[in-house]
């Protein structure tokens, strides 16, 4: 009897040992990415304020910012651009090679990586993901980003952990192409894809176990209208230098606060740990109260957004009223636009609207975009006198009442439109209105609801001037092609031209196309510098300010390294940890 028991025990221990051996072999097979950040301690919960509810948790169809922000925490990409250094880093791809002509990328995938539901990740998932993104019937907005040289990229599986990506022509951004392209789980989504219902998968409210991702967190719970809770992904493929599995945080909670003022109040009361996109005015209020509260406020400096004024330079339609043609004529004169730019008091905008937390701009690339800004552009200071001189040179004059009149004696007046829901833009328009009054131009300010505004700007072209802002999430000029190409849809002052309307627009077209395929960084910078020069000279947009990125966090958050790139505080959420707090978190 005892002998049998001993044999059984022996057999079991052998099996057990073999089993653990296999398991540890599999575990050893996982190639962890080691983070270079400070070593922290696990535990705790981070509460983040989100300005709106996510519309979907499906990376294929997500277009709105809240959805993308949440998805960025639950998904991972092959090559990730480090938001602090701006350099591409290995993520799910542990290494890659580029062919000499720049058209072929061979990516070697990290071994032993698993999805958040435990299923393994390999090249089949990569090929599947790209198939989905590139499928026109699915209609993913990601598709536009994966078209190089007017052809979609092709992705082929070489072996279980190697994929080959081919581009139609060399692409200047190279491997940055792969940043934020989330890898999808084939084992969950292939069937819906073949049945044509992929777009409807993973809506908000889907049960948590129906999801699988490769990001540091996975979905835990969604309470409609209130919050979305993510929990640590136990299969995340990163560790810190001491070998602890990342992320440190147990939970990441996004609370939905639709009103900006309510966001500031919620943060001030201590009901949330992280708030980004604070307005300068609310930032000041929170600064004053800082002493009594437990939060830090961060001014990360000028961001990537740029606010500008632009005039309607569309071709006049034959059935437009003569007044419309006359006004369009003024706007198309460079001297007129230069005069307007000289008359605007950018410092007042920085001071009054942004309480000093913004930078005045004369070119469209803000100084926050350190890699691409052209620092040699002229910065003429505000001068109503020089503005008047420019106007005179263009044939304008002033009547007895002091109003500006054109060559034919018609008083110069126009309206600036801007959208509701953004008090800063309305304030900027009011300042511009007053500045132009000083040179005799009568300006009306009309605020329109956003979509009404866009209808006027982009469809009916029925407006005079507009104050608007654009913001790149990356800073790389390739993301702004549609703005600067004359055929682009976001070429706001005269969109979707069949052929360039002016010589400088033609030159910009050439430069932008060249920089897209130019792989030498210096040469690319020179090309884009020239684009900035042309924009600053010809003023299709009169750049005004770039607001600073303002955020707030509860004190004691380790590894917090705010950047001006999205997500300002959470880009390295897998490395964030609580200092000096019990591991379970206080909430």
């Amino acid at each position: 009897m005892t002998r049998r028991l001993a044999a059984l025990t022996l057999a079991l221990s052998v099996v057990f040992a073999a089993g653990t051996d296999v398991a540890s072999q599999q575990a050893a097979a996982t190639e962890w990415l080691v983070s270079r950040a400070d070593v922290g301690r696990p535990g705790g919960q981070l509460v983040v304020i989100e300005r709106a509810e996510p519309r979907t948790l499906n990376p294929v169809v997500a277009v709105d910012a809240p959805s993308k922000e949440i998805l960025a925490r639950t998904t991972a990409d092959l090559i990730h651009v480090d938001r602090e250094t701006q350099q591409p880093q290995p993520a799910l791809a542990r290494s890659w090679t580029v062919s000499p002509d720049g058209r072929r990328f061979t990516l070697s995938l990290r071994h032993g990586v698993r999805f958040s539901d435990g299923q393994p990740f390999d090249a089949d998932d990569v090929v599947f993901s790209f198939t989905v993104y590139l499928d026109e019937k699915v209609g993913s907005p990601q598709r536009d980003l994966l078209i190089v040289g007017d052809k979609p990229i092709t992705v082929r599986k070489i072996d279980q952990y190697t994929v080959q990506v081919d581009l139609a022509e060399p692409y200047a951004i190279g491997e940055r192409l792969f940043d934020s392209v989330a890898m999808l789980p084939r084992h969950l989504l292939e069937t819906p894809y073949t049945e044509g219902r992929l777009a409807r998968m993973w809506a908000v409210g889907t049960a948590a176990d129906a999801f699988a991702g490769l990001g540091p967190f996975r979905l835990r719970e969604y309470v409609p209208g209130q919050r979305l809770t993510l929990e640590r992904n136990p299969f995340y493929w990163k560790t810190d230098r001491a070998g602890t599995h990342l992320p440190y945080l147990d939970r990441l909670v996004f609370v939905f606060v639709p009103s900006e003022d309510a966001q500031a109040l919620r943060f001030q009361a201590g009901d949330a740990d992280v708030t980004t996109r604070l307005s300068a005015a609310n930032f000041e209020v929170l600064m004053r109260d800082r002493g009594r509260r437990n939060y830090d406020l961060l001014d990360a400096g000028p961001g990537l957004d740029y606010t500008f004024l632009f005039f309607n330079q569309n071709t006049v339609a034959p059935n437009d009223a003569p007044q419309v043609a006359r006004r369009r004529g003024w706007f198309r004169q460079l001297a007129f636009r230069q005069a307007v730019s000289l008359a605007i008091d950018r410092d007042a905008i920085v001071r009054l609207v942004y309480r000093g937390r913004a930078t005045p701009l004369w070119g469209h690339v803000p100084p926050g975009n350190k890699l691409w800004v052209n620092r040699s552009l002229p910065r003429p200071s505000r001068s109503p006198d020089r503005a008047r001189e420019r106007l005179r040179s263009a044939g304008f004059s002033w009547n007895a009442a002091g109003a500006l009149v054109d060559k034919d004696g018609q008083a110069v007046d126009f309206t600036i439109v801007t959208n509701t829901g953004n008090t800063e833009r309305i304030q900027i328009a009011t300042i511009v209105q007053d500045d132009l009054k000083q040179v005799g131009i009568r300006v009306g300010v009309v605020t329109l609801e956003l979509r009404t505004l866009l209808q006027r700007l982009l469809t009916t072209h029925d407006y005079d001037a507009c104050v608007l802002a654009l913001g790149a999430s990356d800073g790389d000029p390739s993301t702004e092609m549609n703005v600067w190409l004359s055929s682009g849809g976001t070429h706001l002052w005269n969109p979707e031209q069949a052929s360039p309307a002016t010589p400088w627009e033609a030159e910009i077209d050439t430069l932008m196309r060249r920089q897209l395929t130019e792989r030498d960084v210096q040469a690319r910078k020179r090309l884009y510098d020239r684009v900035q020069e042309l924009v600053a000279e010809n003023l299709p947009v009169i750049s005004l300010v770039s607001p600073s990125v303002l955020a707030g966090t509860t004190k004691g958050l380790g590894n917090l390294r705010p950047t001006i790139f999205d997500h300002h505080a959470l880009w390295n959420v897998d490395e964030l940890f609580w200092r000096g707090r019990p591991a379970g978190g206080t909430r």
């Binding site: 500031a264 109040l265 304030q427 007053d434 009306g444 300010v445």
Partner: protein, 334 residues
């Protein structure tokens, strides 16, 4: 229940005179206001009210109050020359009731985010709001009176049709229509005109609430003995409506009007969120109040509440007037 007898008409007269003064002040805003409401003083943004002093630093009492600026004192002057303005279409002037010499600025109610004088904005903004509020109320209530009165008086299918239409009007989201209207309006019309058009639509569409309340009253009143008697004696429907039934509904109508006028003035604060209010730089009471709806203003700049005082005073006057009118109408025989 007892009630103290009120001196007949006293409240009525007080309210009427007071409102008259207010409206007169609104018309002569240019004269009463020390500055043009859109003049920006960018170094004086969000400045609290300037203090008026009677005693200077050496202890001397002056009869004429003065303002300190950079260590110097600037006495208050009357009938000063300032920014030009016009009253109505014809009368133009640049004389203001009071002011101080430059470079001092007299900001009795403080300044806003662009350094514009709040008192001047309050006075100039009064006219559009004091016009829009009662206009909106009058439109809604008048339509409600007619339609509700007809529905209640005739009953039957008239009542059914009008009441179902009222439900339709109450339920449909009209902001779509307002967006479409704003889109259709040319960009270049005066901000006040655009706003008035929008407000007119809101008021016309808003006939349903007063109509429901009035219809209820009229339904009850039309079977009263005197009404039946009058009809038996051959009085026409119109006559009966006018002399007997309408006075009954007037109480409700007046109460509604006194409630709606302030609501329409304040509605502008909400409408401006959708770009449907009075645009910059034209002041109105609605958009001055809308500024308060920002957290930083609410918590830091107490003087921005002061225009609210004027607002409340006018609302109280509307209420007293409506109340007094109600009393007079209720006292009529019938």
């Amino acid at each position: 229940m007892t009630s103290r007898p009120q001196p007949a008409g006293r409240n009525y007269q007080v309210a009427l005179v007071a409102l008259g003064v207010v409206y007169l002040a609104a018309i002569f805003a240019g004269f009463l206001a020390p500055y043009d409401p859109s003049t920006q003083s960018r170094d004086l943004a969000f400045v609290p009210p300037t203090g008026l002093h009677w005693v200077d630093m050496s202890g001397t009492i002056h009869l004429r109050p003065f303002v300190y600026e950079d260590g110097r004192s600037y006495p208050l002057r009357f009938f000063v020359r300032g920014a030009p303005y016009r009253v109505g279409r014809f009368f133009q002037s640049d004389r203001h009731l009071f002011g101080v010499d430059e470079p001092a600025m007299l900001l009795l109610l403080g300044s806003d985010g662009f350094g514009r004088d709040q008192l001047s904005r309050l006075l100039y903004g009064a006219l559009i709001s004091l016009f829009a509020g009662p206009l909106g109320a009058a439109l809604s209530v008048a339509l409600g009176l007619v339609l509700g009165g007809l529905a209640g008086f005739f009953g039957g299918w008239v009542d059914t049709v009008v009441m179902r239409a009222a439900e339709l009007f109450l339920a449909v989201p009209w902001f779509y229509l307002l967006f479409a209207v704003r889109m259709a309006l040319p960009l270049r019309i005066e901000p006040q005109e655009a706003f008035l058009m929008i407000l007119t639509i809101v008021a016309v569409v808003g006939w349903a609430r007063p109509a429901r309340l009035i219809r209820g009253m009229v339904l009850s009143g039309r079977t009263r003995d005197y009404v039946v008697a009058a009809r038996a004696l051959g009085a026409s429907d119109l006559h009966v409506l006018r002399r007997h039934v309408l006075p009954q509904a007037s109480g409700i109508a007046l109460t509604q009007a006194a409630l709606l006028a302030p609501q329409y003035i304040l509605a502008e604060a909400t409408l401006s969120f959708f770009g449907l209010g009075v645009g910059e730089p034209v002041p109105s009471w609605g958009n001055m109040l809308a500024v308060l709806q920002r957290y930083d203003v609410l918590s830091s700049y107490w003087w921005m509440f002061l225009p609210g005082g004027a607002l409340l005073a006018v609302f109280l006057l509307y209420y007293l007037l409506a109340d007094a009118l109600h009393e007079r109408v209720a006292a009529l025989p019938g």
